[in-house]
């Protein structure tokens, strides 16, 4: 780990100045000089070249020292690494193993035997799984998009606000985010209650007929999405706000000088520069939204019918209600694989677009 920084620093610095490409590239050739130390044995028969020899000697010494530090570092980190392996990798690997073998529960605990793809075949042939998958994907796209738009708008307002107002607003906004989802879901359940919910009676007085928020298909999906968006938009807003505050002012000023109006400046200059912050926000949100469990668990139980059954809820039911450990593990493992692929795909597409734009300008 500590071996790498000396090599990376110069090149990273070169790329950081990427907007003004020429000077960065020009500086680069200097860097390799440090990196090509000839074997130390060659130096002794040139006694006249004192400074060069000293420098070379120093670098080789430093790398020995660094290597020693690196080794020491590894020595210190291995217990922590072992714990990380035990608590994160082992359960994942175990559920993958479970999903690929025949699981029986004996008096002695789980017993895995043989290698089988039956659980995944069951999954792929199950309409219930396909439905949960479709619901989860659409729900993720829908909520994350909405949160992204709302969060960005809120961040823009907050940026304008400045001063003490911003602090207060941020604290207020963070309340929903800080609340435990199960608790906030219960609160929403009270508001959505089909007879006594405040939202139900409000809809009654507005539309003349009470809306069944959780009792009918589309309203149930939307009600759940609203509860989700209410809770997580602040998170997106805060990340985007951080991104906004990091933006260099001179670029925007330059755009204004060049005659761009506020709208163009936002779309053409600020938004593209905000990309890294947006990517982080979206990635976090995809990971969470794809694994949504607590909201449907508390609000709808997956209903009405199978309208709001997410993959995580399905996995829980297969594993702990039906006690089908193999298929349950298959649902869990495939969900993890899917969200991983989704995130990688998203990042790849995104990087490609960033690359295009940079070569374009």
């Amino acid at each position: 780990m500590s071996d790498e920084p000396p090599e990376e620093v110069p090149s990273a610095a070169g790329e950081d100045d990427g907007h003004t490409v020429a000077p960065g590239r020009a500086r680069r050739p200097l860097a390799p000089i440090h990196d090509e130390p000839p074997p130390p044995v060659t130096s002794p028969h040139r006694p006249g070249d004192e400074p060069g020899r000293g420098r070379r000697h120093l670098t080789s010494q430093r790398s020995v020292l660094e290597r020693r530090f690196a080794r020491l570092g590894w020595a210190f980190t291995w217990p922590a690494l072992l714990i990380v392996l035990a608590v994160t990798l082992f359960p994942i690997a175990f559920s993958v193993a479970m999903s690929l073998s025949n699981v029986t529960v004996s008096a002695d605990g789980f017993r895995l035997s043989g290698l089988t793809s039956d659980h995944y075949t069951l999954l792929l042939r199950s309409e219930r799984w396909r439905h949960a998958l479709l619901f989860t994907i659409l729900y993720t796209i829908g909520t994350v998009l909405t949160e992204l738009i709302l969060g960005t708008l809120i961040a823009l307002v907050l940026e304008r606000l400045g001063g003490a107002g911003r602090g207060w607003m941020m604290a207020l906004l963070l309340l929903p985010w800080a609340m435990i989802t199960v608790v906030s879901a219960q609160l929403w359940a009270y508001m959505y209650n089909g007879v006594y919910g405040i939202l139900t009676s409000m809809s009654d007085s507005v539309a003349g007929e009470p809306v069944q928020f959780l009792g009918t298909r589309m309203p149930a999906i939307l009600s759940m999405a609203v509860a989700d968006i209410w809770k997580t938009t602040p998170f997106v807003a805060i990340i985007v706000l951080a991104g906004l505050m990091m933006l260099p002012r001179d670029v925007i000023e330059a755009a204004k000088v060049d005659g761009a109006d506020a709208w163009t400046a936002f779309w053409r200059v600020r938004l593209p520069l905000l990309r890294p912050a947006l990517v982080i926000a979206v990635l976090f949100r995809i990971l969470q939204a794809f694994g949504i469990f607590d909201l449907p668990f508390v609000l709808t139980g997956g209903g009405p019918g199978d309208a709001t059954e997410s993959l995580a809820l399905l996995g829980w039911q297969v594993m702990f209600t039906n006690l089908d450990f193999g298929p349950g593990a298959a649902v869990a493992a495939s969900t993890a694989a899917l969200v991983l692929c989704g995130c990688l795909l998203f990042m790849r597409v995104f990087k490609a677009r960033v690359g295009e734009e940079e070569t374009g300008t």
């Binding site: 690997a93 175990f94 193993a97 002695d108 789980f110 959780l214 009792g215 039911q317 702990f320 039906n322």
Partner: protein, 428 residues
């Protein structure tokens, strides 16, 4: 990559499960002493489990029992038990087990078969059907602790005011409810548990059985939900929703929501378990206390009455990993015996002990208990470990149809296909 990891993990898992095994040696259960942990959802009036424990400890001073309250949700409790017991933990010695669990827990080795440890005549203390539903493949996996059944609660005051009879059929109920609603005395006619969860399977089972329908065949091999009897029931339920007899919110009601609507005075009729009577007649939490009557569930016109009630309640089961099985068995024997069962009955929890259930003195004081031993019962199709999937096939499709997203015919066909797949072991 995942495939490479598997053999290594299999080896690791095999080692893991071989170590620390706690297999049960039939006759060697250890002495009836020591401290045991009892894991259960709170039941009865506040503090009842502790009262039972105190009485037990007085009789068995060499055993101490600690009560661990489980989360008030059957599925969550099952998840906790599964995690604990499959992990080989012995931190729970004895636990309350839902009446629909024995087959599933037996198939997954989550409960210890009790037959070898208890005398053969032990099971005679229960009503025959009660004891029968704790069996899986000829072995008793639990002992009945307390019973439960569905009842119809009604607004006595409103029926008296309008000179109406307690309905004997669902059709009469709908008519009576409509009359009361039209008079403006009550907002809704009927509330039950029609949300997307196992409670709907129970509500469905009762109404379907009243109409002569079934969910699965007697041998648990075939789905029988797609029948004309069941079509009649589903049409009737949808009719109740369409006519406004049942609120449209009924499709999102579990027990707490339906009872809330009833105790607020907003519903004329209410189906719930036995605890519904006490709750509706407690002035602190009920606006209709003293105005509530209890009756057996209605049947359908042309069918024999009263309608059957779903068999509910909880059993006691032993963790196969417990290292205090002697004490656990003593606890199970005492809890199902006359003294404890009488305590239950006095606290309006339905006993399972046949002798206590038939006690005339107790029946006089408790109208629910008086009904309980006479009403016909119907068991959920839980003799198969596939019951959770069967139930899922019932409640998702029926709930979907009640919420208006599927026509009744299609819903029953879909339910039938789902149930058949579950029975054939091909359902997720």
């Amino acid at each position: 990559m995942a495939f490479c990891a598997v053999p290594v993990l299999l080896a690791a898992a095999a080692c893991g499960s071989a170590a620390g095994s706690a297999s049960v040696d039939p006759r060697d259960v250890g002495p009836a002493s020591g401290s045991i942990t009892w894991y259960a959802i709170n039941f009865g009036p506040e503090g009842l489990p502790q009262k039972l424990i105190d009485a037990f400890e007085k009789k068995h001073p060499e055993i101490s029992v600690e009560f661990h309250a489980a989360p008030n949700n059957t599925d969550t409790m099952r998840a906790t038990l599964t995690t604990e017991i499959t992990g080989g933990s012995s931190s729970i010695d004895v636990f309350n087990s839902d009446v629909v669990w024995p087959a599933q827990f037996g198939a997954a080795n989550l409960a210890m078969p009790l037959d070898e440890h208890l005398p053969d005549d032990f099971w005679d203390r229960f009503e025959e059907r009660r004891a029968a539903v704790t069996e899986y493949r000829g072995k008793h996996l639990a002992a009945p602790l307390y019973a439960d059944a569905g009842f119809l609660y009604y607004r006595k005051d409103l029926l008296d005011k309008h000179g109406l009879e307690v309905p004997k059929t669902w059709e009469e109920l709908a008519e009576t409810a409509a009359t009361l609603q039209d008079s403006g005395d009550v907002k809704y006619g009927y509330v039950g548990q029609w949300a997307n969860y196992e409670g709907l399977t129970v509500n469905w089972l009762e109404m379907s059985a009243a109409a002569g329908g079934r969910i699965v065949s007697h041998d648990h091999e075939r789905s029988e939900i797609d029948s004309s009897e069941n079509r009649r029931v589903l049409d009737f339920m949808r009719g109740m929703m369409n006519d406004g007899v049942a609120p449209s919110a009924n499709t999102s009601f579990q027990e707490p929501q339906s009872i809330q609507t009833f105790v607020e005075g907003d519903a004329a009729f209410h189906r719930n378990w036995a605890h519904g009577y006490g709750e509706a007649n407690t002035p602190e939490i009920s606006a209709v206390a003293g105005k509530v009557g209890v009756a057996p569930l209605p049947t359908f016109e042309g069918e024999e009455g009263p309608g059957p009630s779903a068999m509910g309640g909880w059993n006691l089961a032993a963790n196969p990993h417990s290292d205090r099985l002697g004490a656990v068995l003593a606890f199970i024997k005492w809890m199902t015996g006359p003294e404890a069962q009488r305590m239950l009955a006095e606290n309006s929890v339905l006993p399972t002990n046949a002798e206590v259930l038939k006690d005339e003195d107790l029946r006089r004081d408790d109208p629910v208990l008086a009904l309980a031993s006479d009403i016909p019962l119907v068991a959920r199709p839980s003799a198969t470990p596939r019951y959770p999937q069967v139930s899922n096939g019932v409640f998702t499709n029926i709930n979907g149809s009640l919420a208006g997203s599927t026509p009744p015919g299609a819903a029953l066909r879909a339910a039938s296909a789902d149930i058949q797949r579950a029975l054939d072991d091909e359902a997720l």
